[in-house]
Symmetry: C2
Subunit: 326 residues, 2 copies
């Protein structure tokens, strides 16, 4: 493939002049420029970005480590982040960690070798101790010491959910979440603030007794059997806040199978919102996160890293999304 040297030779100029022409930097006489541009077309020259990265010591690549692009919300997030970064002149590498700690770590290692300009980290694994804090990392929904993070306003979301259930007259309330990490790690994600905000708001309204079901994060989708049994053992419950729409969907199916009418008998609120277009049934009432706003926030931090400016955490607002289940 033609290089800058070939172009220079053919045009009878030095490589520096060609470089200036390509990059629109420094002075180049008009005729020289035109000649060079003609030759570039002629030989089909395409600048080598790798060589450029080499000299400039940056490659304009950002990597996104996430558990699974199959998860609908993550897929959306991925889309918006890529779009935003593209507009800022970055390319994006995607790294599916499949929720395995070793894969998280081996990716971080790989990305170090590749000298990516920034890493977006979305993980529930216990990687804190092995994280090189000098790396330009931005974390989503998770706080690491010394690493800036972006997250939705989970606390406010929990409050919203509580307010809605109270307004609807619910008396026996339950929380269900798959963010308990106690079994094999001691990480605590920002996501747990959904529960905290929820419980606080209930308490403010005199509701102290809430049935709190938490279980360890699995694949983000399916609920372990014993949790289903726990739900059934509380027929008095008339309002449930679930930590995600995926969990809410499972819970609703369980309740309906056991003869409950949703939302008449039990109101159920989820978290995530947005659309899921292959949906023939009820729309889940939910606290919505905005993947677009989140993407903008992440991108903002990355640009600041790039410009060597000071970076700060960003909390993105959530919204109440009306549906058919509460």
């Amino acid at each position: 493939m033609a290089s800058i040297i070939d172009v220079a030779k053919k045009a009878g100029v030095g490589i520096a002049t060609v470089s200036r022409t390509i990059n629109n930097s420094g002075y180049v006489k008009k005729e020289t420029r035109e000649k060079i541009e003609r030759i570039i077309k002629e030989v089909g020259y395409v600048p080598n970005e790798i060589a450029r990265s080499m000299t400039l010591q940056k490659n304009n690549i950002v990597a996104f480590i996430l558990p699974n692009s199959t998860h609908l919300f993550f897929g959306e997030l991925l889309y918006y982040v890529e779009e935003e970064l593209y507009n800022q002149g970055f390319k994006m590498m995607i790294c599916n960690s499949s929720m395995q700690t070793e894969k998280d770590l081996s990716y971080i290692d790989l990305l170090k070798k590749n000298r990516v300009d920034a890493i977006i980290l979305l993980t529930n694994n216990d990687v804190e101790s092995q994280l090189d804090k000098r790396l330009p990392i931005v974390s989503f929904d998770r706080k690491f010491d010394g690493v800036p993070f972006v997250s939705s306003d989970n606390h406010a979301g929990g409050v919203m959910a509580a307010k809605h259930l109270i307004k609807k007259g619910c008396k026996n309330i339950m929380f269900i979440g798959d963010d308990a990490q106690g079994l094999h790690t001691n990480v605590s994600t920002e996501v747990s603030k959904r529960r905290i905000g929820f419980l606080e708001e209930l308490k403010r309204n005199g509701i102290d007794k809430v049935i709190n079901i938490e279980y360890p994060l699995g694949n983000y989708i399916y609920i372990p059997d014993y949790v289903h049994e726990l739900i059934q053992s509380h027929p008095e419950v008339d309002g449930i806040f679930c930590i995600s729409d995926a969990v809410a969907a499972e819970v609703i199916l369980n309740l309906e199978k056991n003869g409950k009418k949703i939302p008449e008998d039990v109101k159920v609120i989820g978290f995530d919102g947005g659309r899921s277009f292959i949906n023939l049934g009820k729309r889940i009432t939910s606290i919505g996160q905005s993947p677009k706003l989140i993407a903008e926030a992440i991108s903002e931090i990355i640009v600041k890293y790039y410009l060597k400016e000071k970076v700060e955490n960003i909390i993105v607002p959530v919204y109440f999304q009306n549906g058919d289940t509460a």
Copy 2:
């Protein structure tokens, strides 16, 4: 950041020896190796992959250009392709073209500059004329002259759908697809074979008159109003094959709104299959594509490119997925 030279100096050896140690190539005396490895740890040296790409003229990056990772099937495909490529030692760059021809092209251009080792192209845009056929491209669900492609066995899928509707006793059959490209381009995707296989099998069974509704590809999700009207103007229809589950979902909602019972009055089959976990209603009966098999096929072609072996098209089998709508 420490470079190979720093390590060499500190270890009192030449850089070639360090390089040999890192890459496990050539002879290095055991003690020398051990010393070098110690120093590497000491100074926190991480090989620079960019420099390596420079020398080796390959960077082990594969790019995936696709319309939208938000689309559930694409999100799944993305996941499996990434996983497969990771196992083969490749990193993956993701490029959302948002269905814009210019973005497709500007990405291809970008990837040329970045000297990626292969490009996976998933597009419905008319880019044929501007495609550099010397590039290592593998196309999904789309035939370009001189470019190897992977696709599901769409024709067999169409046949399966026809067989099922016939078995269920349908007499007045309709096809609905959003793959008509006539309006602004003249591309024809592999996807149109779903319709062809479907119609052929019906004809073999004496069913000649099929109501064929095709409309231009939009965002893969929503159906234009006039198509909804067309559907309503055929109340005699009792069996419908839709080109995707997304389309099927819209069609089913339309029919139910107009008082039809699914599947009692009308049987509806979609295409894509797999799971969509936030689904509280009926499961769509569908012809399933296997994102995992597709990913393996794509990866197989890429590895062949890499080894400079001859590449060939690969057709992946589909399967019938029972659901509640047919």
